[in-house]
Symmetry: C2
Subunit: 213 residues, 2 copies
Amino acid sequence: MENKEISQAVIGRLPRYFRYLGELKDEGIERISSQELSDIMQVTASQIRQDFNNFGGFGQQGYGYKVEYLYEEIGKILGLDKTHNLIIIGAGNLGQALANYMNFERRGFLFKGIFDNNPALFGKKIRNMEIKPMEEMEAFVKENGIDIAVLTIPKGSAVEVAGKLVENGIRGIWNFAHVDLPVPAEIQVENVHLSDSLMKLAYNINRYEQNEL
Amino acid sequence: MENKEISQAVIGRLPRYFRYLGELKDEGIERISSQELSDIMQVTASQIRQDFNNFGGFGQQGYGYKVEYLYEEIGKILGLDKTHNLIIIGAGNLGQALANYMNFERRGFLFKGIFDNNPALFGKKIRNMEIKPMEEMEAFVKENGIDIAVLTIPKGSAVEVAGKLVENGIRGIWNFAHVDLPVPAEIQVENVHLSDSLMKLAYNINRYEQNEL
């Protein structure tokens, strides 16, 4: 299992399975069939079985899946049993919103610091963490074993900041800046291009209306 | 062209083309070959040609693409030449961050109102717009021809609010709540599940490290 290549499409679906299984677990449900899971998730039962087969199955014919076991196993596959040290670059509304998602801690993402280049923000506290000047970022990343940086800064400075993060040992960037980051292949980047997402929504609305006419 | 079905994969790539072409336009570049566009976008030239062929081409052999024309045509395909009336439900940090993305206006998304159920926020102004109580949302949607709602509220209330929006004529929901919304097929939903995205990043970091060992 360790070295089998799993497609990004399957990986992209795992967090959603994880989310639904977590809800079932919280509701006290112990066992679920692929058909029931299919009904609540609006995914075909065969898709679910195929996805889970990538990781060796998890189920027994006619018995269904054990919710808690499956939740934990998918969590392990996602690496949520490990911890990651995370900093946020940019303490504007979006940076503050992300810092306040307490939920991240539950999944192993440890919020270690937040940086900005606006002196008016220095020393202000977000979740008990003082906003620090950008000048301190590089040393902080190196000295505190930070492996994930969240970029919520304008695109003009994002590429330069990403370069500094990479030099200081960052492993992954969660990028909200409206620009694609040219980083080495060993650095994992997950882009959240919000305006792209909104444009896709607009397209689908218009498309639907054109087809209705 | 109007009724040809285009895959969601192609549609998903259009906003990124639009973003790059907009930057080229802003830099005063008038013409670009698919090879040059391929180099800056890190997409194969053949992929670019294939994608554009879905919409009738846009290019001339050996001449390349006219940047401004292409930018405008893709904008039209995305429906950015039309305007959409948009409200934000939830005036927390994330709702405020989204309200402050002035850029949306440039793309035809007109910010018409922001709602919350926290009385402490009523009357406070976000981009010159007073935060209104949730109780006023339904009438407001109906009376102001609101077609897009942005949901930045906790998952507990998101499903109920989505139902009310649909009843009052909303056409699309940009959903940041951590829950999938059960809405009729004619309502377009674009989900931004931030924790799913962060989990995917964690997976890719762990995967890379396991393969390195």
